[in-house]
Assembly symmetry: C2
Homo-oligomer: 225 residues x 2
């Protein structure tokens, strides 16, 4: 028994409804204050503070002080991956499915996953870029081809401006609603930012929903149809 790392501590942290709501809210990729997260989780500030310190101790979130505010964000893409995988499993095991709220169809259509585009439109973009030979997956790793580099440059993304970091340029991320991959990594992040810059879409405050304008939808279809 006791093979490998200890799963239960991390799972225990995610296993509380309030903490799960906090983490889900942070899946938007934004850094949120303790008060905002308390509100998201539906608990008082004191309770949220306790949860947040536990999540921080467990290495799932990172704090950042800013004046009298304390902002929290997910500790990394690996955390987001686990959360997405759990969502996929929760959605799959039937009775665990949450009653689909009014936002549910919108979420399935286009949403933020950590810092990149997910949902139907996220996978559509990914597939289109693969089909046209912009992405090449050499076994495990995903990378941008020369044609792909030219494409995203034409799309308005300056590769040189991307920060040097250990984070891979391209990464595949499994989508819980579509059960297929979408584009993550630094390029995935840059694509979403560019889509917002182009005013094709904007995030709906307080949710993970990404809402496209009619014009943006049309342009998206032209580009990734």
């Amino acid at each position: 028994m006791k093979d490998g790392p200890d799963i239960s501590r991390v799972a225990f942290l995610i296993g509380d409804p309030a903490r799960a709501n906090i983490l889900t809210a942070l899946m938007s990729g934004r850094a949120l204050t303790a008060s905002e997260l308390a509100n998201e989780a539906g608990v008082t500030l004191q309770t949220a503070s306790s949860h947040l310190s536990k999540l921080e101790m467990g290495g799932l979130i990172c704090p950042r002080r800013e004046g009298r505010h304390k902002y929290f964000r997910l500790a990394g893409a690996e955390v987001a991956t686990v959360l997405e995988a759990l969502m996929g499993l929760a959605a799959g095991t039937g009775q665990l499915r949450h009653r689909p709220g009014p936002k549910d169809p919108e979420l399935r259509r286009a949403r933020v996953c950590y810092n990149h585009l997910a949902g139907d439109m996220g996978t559509q973009m990914f597939d289109s870029m693969c089909d046209r030979g912009f992405l090449k997956s050499s076994g495990d790793d995903l990378s941008l081809t020369d044609a792909g580099g030219a494409f995203i440059k034409g799309f308005g993304i300056d590769l040189g401006a991307l920060p040097e970091s250990r984070a891979p340029l391209c990464r595949a991320c499994l989508d819980w609603s579509e059960r297929r991959s979408h584009l993550a990594g630094q390029v995935g992040r840059a694509m979403l930012l560019r889509i917002e810059d182009l005013k094709w879409a904007s995030r709906v405050d307080g949710t993970r929903v990404v809402r496209f304008t009619p014009a943006g939808l049309h342009a998206f279809g032209q580009t990734f149809g």
Copy 2:
């Protein structure tokens, strides 16, 4: 708040040490009895029975009666994926790392992941098959090329004999110790079975360790070097 599926229920189930041990034991891919799992988890049979019924209700494991025994197995590859992702995160977040037992190096070298080969040798096999063009990842999905089909046929695997099922033939699975992908899916399963058939390696009872014979190690190196 409350976007998407409810994570916390599934995470709560995994968040108990006894249940986490049970699930980890089932990562061997084998079906184990309630008594065996009680022993793995370090609790009495009564306690394990309670845990097992909760895991079953939660859709994480499937029971199968066989005489007076009740065998349990993981409910599916999706569950295994979540567990592997959690292991990766737990191993990564530092203080959560379990004290490395004597079996730890062996586990990192070669182990069973649900029903396929993982660890250093698992990723080595995967990389080799990718480099030689046996596997093609068209964007998201992983598939066997013609050359790959010929290769595994030569290796002694009859593709036609694989059962018709919704499970994909090839699938990439993230490895918590190597942090890279290895081969899962039906072909991954068949490869491991064939390796055992060839007597290259055998599983160590009661653990996830796959122990190669010297001859098997040599043959493996020849084939996937």
